[in-house]
Homo-oligomer: 441 residues x 2
C-alpha cells in the first residue's frame, strides 16, 4: 500500500494537470482587505489525499474507516497538522484533533472539521473538503500572521460514513448497538485497538460544551440545488430531522395459481399502495420534505407464491420536526386505512429518529456577512444529509457551508466539485473565523 | 430413518384414529352396478406413505425429490405396485412405472399417475392422492375380476415439485438449465446416479404417443372453490397457461436526503405503480385470470439511498392463451407509459411461458358420466396450478379430477382433504377407466 501511494504521489507530482503547477503563494489579502486562502495549496492537499485509497480501476475512493487506506490517510493528516504548527492528539474515539492555542486563556475553541473516511467507491471530496479546508485556514492564519484569541481546533472525526461514530462519541451518545456492530469485520473495540487506542476509555472522548466556542464545517452539497441555480456557496440553515422506519405488511401466503383474486390477502398489493402513498403524502405537504423507500423485500419471495409478508423502509426528512411528525402521522393513518381495505396487518418499527440540528444564528450571521463581502453567489438552504455538524450542534453553536456537487452526485467515483468553489468556501470560512473570534466571548 | 419410519408405522397402527380400524373389504359393486374402490385400503395407503418423511415437530412432509425419505417412499411404492401384480420398472428419468398388460395386444396404455415427492414442509395429500388412488384402481380391478383391454400403467413421476422433471423427461423436454441446477445439492446427473440410474440414458425416458391411450390424474385442488361450493369433485377442463416474467425498473440512484422529490428518477415509485397495475389489469379482465407479484427487491437496497433499480416478478395465468396474451400486452403498454411518466426504464425478461393444457373432450366426457352416475356433487373448473398432467397432455388425451383442499391450503403441514372425497374420486376414476377402456380404440 505504501509503495502504491508513493507511486501515485509520484504520478500526481509529475502529471501536467496537477495543482502543483499552479505555484502556491500562501494566503493573501485583497485590495479590499479581505483575507484569501491559498487555492493552489488547498487543491494540492485534496489531490494528495485523493491518492490514498483510490481504486485505480474505477477512480473511486475506498477509504472506509479503520481500513489500511484510512490509517495511511490518518498518518498523512496528522503529519500535515503538526507541520502547520498544531498540537496533534487522537482522542479515545479515534478523532484526530490538531489544536492551536489562542492568545487568551480559558476560551472555548473554534472547531473546524469534517471526516476523511469514505464509503466504498466514494468520491474524493465528501468529508475531505471540510478537513483540508480547516487545515488551510490554520495555514492561512500563519501566512497572514494572525493569532486568534480563541484556540482553533482542526478535527477529523472517526467513521462519519458508518453513522457519525466519532462525533457522537463527543456527546457520549454511542450505544450498545454501535459497539456491537462490525467495522470492517471487527467490533468497535477491536477497530479502536487497531488505532492503538484503549476501548475501555471510549467514554472519555466526551467533550464538555465549555471547551467549544463554535463548530464550522465545509461539505459538498450532495444535491443539485446550488449547481442548478449557478451558485458557489450554500449557507446551511440547519440539518434536517430524519426518521427511518421499517414497515411490515402481513398478509396470507397462498398459491399464485389456485387462489382467486377475490380470496387474496396480498401484502404485496397493499405494500405497493403504501409505497405510492409515501410519495403522494410528501408531495402534498411539499416544501423541503423528502421521503424515500430504499429497501423492499417479500417473503417467502417465490414468483409463484402470494407473499406472507412484505417489508420496506421509509426514510423521511424535513428541517422541521413538526412538519416531519405531521407527515408520519398522515402516513400512519393512510397505511392503516389501506391495511383495513386489503385485509392485511401493518406494523411500524422505528429504526431511527434524528432531531433537526439548526445552525446557530450568530454563526450563520457571520457566514452570511463573509460570503456577502466576497460577493460569491450563494443562498440559504437546509442540509438534507446528516453530518458530523449535527452531533456537534448539541455541544456548540454550529454553522455549515456547502459547495456545489456537479450533477448532484456523491458516494460515487463520479462525485466532483470545482476547486474554485472550494477555494471560495475557504475564503468565507477564514473570514467567518476571524469575525467569530472577534465577536464570541 | 428406517427405524423412525418403523416407529411411526407402529404408532400409526396402534393409534385409535387410524384407518386400520375400518376393515378393508376390497372393491365392490353397488346395487346400481357401479364399481366402488375400497376406501379403507386407500386411506391406509395414504396414512402409511404420510409416515415416510414426516417432520414430527410440525407434522409437515419433508420428502423432497431424491432425499433419503423420497428413496424410502419409492421403495415402499415399488413393493406395493409389485404386490398388486404390476410389472415395475424405473425409467431413465427415475419415474416409477407399474404396468398391468391388457387383454388385447398392441394397445396404448391407460396411464394413471401423479407424484410422491413433496415440497419441504408440505402436506400429505399433494401428489400422494394421485399415485395411491391409481394403485387402488389396479387393486380394485383385481378385486372385481376385471382385466381391461388396454394395459394400465400406474406412474409416480420424479420431482414434480422441482418443475415437473419426470413428466417433462417423457417429452424429451429437459433443458440444459434443468441439468445444470441443483437437486438437493447435486446436479441432476448425480441425483439420478443416486437412484442407481445412468444419466447418459436420460433421453431414453422419452415416450412415444403410441404407447399411451390416455392419462388420468387425481390431485388436490389447492384452492377453495370446491370447499366453498360444498362439492366433492372438480372436473378439470384444462390446466392454465402460465407466464412468468422478471421486470427490471432502472432509475437513478441518489441520496435520500439531498435529492428533491422533483429531481428523482425513482424506480421504487415506478415499480409500486406497476405492481398496482398488475392487479388492476387482472381484475379488469376478470374471469379465471390471476396475477401475482411474489418477489421484489431494490438495489442497492439501503434505506437512505434512492434505488438504482427495482426488480419484481409477475406470475400470470389463465385457461386461455389468448386472454393471457391480451393481459400481458396490456401490462406492457401500461408499464411503458408509467416508465415514461417516471423517467425510468423498464425491461421485461421472460422466465417461463407454459402453454395451456386442455383436457381431452372424450376423457372429460367419461369423467363427467362417471361422476354423474355416482351423484357426487361436482363442477367443471380450470386448474390454476401446474401438474404432471400438463406434460403428459402433449403425448396423450388427458383428464384430471380435483378433490377439495380444506381451507384451500397446500404446500403446508396444514394441508388436508377429507378421505371420503378422495374415495369418491377413486370411484369416479375407476368407472372412467372402465368407460375409456371400452371406448378407446
Amino acid at each position: 500500500m505504501r509503495m502504491m501511494v508513493a507511486l501515485l504521489l509520484l504520478l500526481t507530482l509529475t502529471s501536467p494537470t496537477t495543482a502543483q503547477q499552479v505555484r502556491s503563494r500562501g494566503a493573501w489579502r485583497g485590495p479590499d482587505g479581505l483575507p484569501h486562502i491559498d487555492p493552489a495549496r488547498l487543491e494540492s492537499s485534496l489531490v494528495t489525499l485523493a491518492a490514498i485509497g483510490r481504486d485505480p480501476a474505477t477512480g473511486g475512493m475506498v477509504r472506509t474507516a479503520f481500513s489500511e487506506a484510512d490509517l495511511e490517510a490518518r498518518h498523512w493528516l496528522m503529519s500535515g497538522l503538526a507541520a502547520a504548527g498544531l498540537t496533534v492528539r487522537v482522542d479515545p474515539a479515534g478523532n484526530i484533533i490538531g489544536r492551536l492555542e489562542g492568545t487568551e486563556s480559558g476560551k472555548g475553541a473554534l472547531v473546524l472539521g469534517s471526516h476523511i473516511d469514505t464509503v466504498p467507491q466514494g468520491g474524493r471530496f465528501d468529508g475531505a473538503v471540510g478537513v483540508l479546508t480547516a487545515l488551510e485556514i490554520v495555514r492561512s492564519l500563519g501566512d497572514l500572521g494572525i493569532r486568534p484569541r480563541h484556540p482553533i481546533e482542526v478535527v477529523s472525526f472517526t467513521d462519519e460514513e458508518g453513522g457519525l461514530v466519532g462525533s457522537r462519541a463527543w456527546l457520549g451518545a454511542l450505544t450498545e448497538a454501535d459497539r456491537a456492530r462490525e467495522y470492517g469485520g471487527r467490533l468497535l473495540a477491536e477497530a479502536l485497538r487497531g488505532l492503538g487506542l484503549d476501548p475501555a476509555r471510549l467514554d472519555e472522548a466526551r467533550r464538555n460544551p465549555s471547551e467549544l466556542a463554535a463548530y464550522l464545517e465545509v461539505h459538498i452539497e450532495q444535491g443539485r440545488l446550488l449547481e442548478r441555480e449557478g451558485l458557489q456557496i450554500g449557507l446551511v440553515e440547519g440539518i434536517v430531522a430524519l426518521d427511518e422506519y421499517e414497515i411490515t405488511v402481513l398478509g396470507q401466503a397462498n398459491h399464485a395459481g389456485t387462489t382467486r383474486m377475490a380470496d387474496r390477502h396480498d401484502p404485496m398489493a397493499a405494500a405497493a399502495r403504501m409505497v405510492g402513498e409515501v410519495r403522494e403524502q410528501v408531495r402534498r405537504i411539499g416544501g423541503d420534505l423528502v421521503g424515500t423507500v430504499g429497501r423492499i423485500e417479500a417473503r417467502p419471495g417465490a414468483p409463484n407464491v402470494i407473499p406472507a409478508e412484505v417489508r420496506f423502509t421509509v426514510d423521511i426528512r424535513d428541517p422541521s420536526r413538526l412538519v416531519l411528525d405531521g407527515a408520519i402521522q398522515g402516513l400512519q393513518e393512510r397505511f392503516a386505512r389501506i391495511a383495513v381495505e386489503e385485509g392485511v396487518e401493518v406494523v411500524w418499527r422505528t429504526l431511527q429518529r434524528i432531531p433537526p440540528a439548526p445552525a446557530d444564528p450568530r454563526v450563520l450571521q457571520a457566514l452570511t456577512e463573509a460570503v456577502t463581502a466576497y460577493g460569491y453567489p450563494h443562498r440559504v438552504m437546509p442540509s438534507g444529509a446528516g453530518h458530523d455538524a449535527q452531533s456537534v450542534a448539541q455541544l456548540a453553536p454550529m454553522g455549515m457551508l456547502f459547495v456545489p456537487s456537479i450533477g448532484g452526485v456523491s458516494h460515487s467515483p463520479a462525485e466532483a466539485t470545482r476547486y474554485e468553489d472550494i477555494a471560495a468556501a475557504g475564503d468565507v470560512l477564514l473570514q467567518a473565523v476571524l469575525l467569530l473570534d472577534g465577536r464570541f466571548p
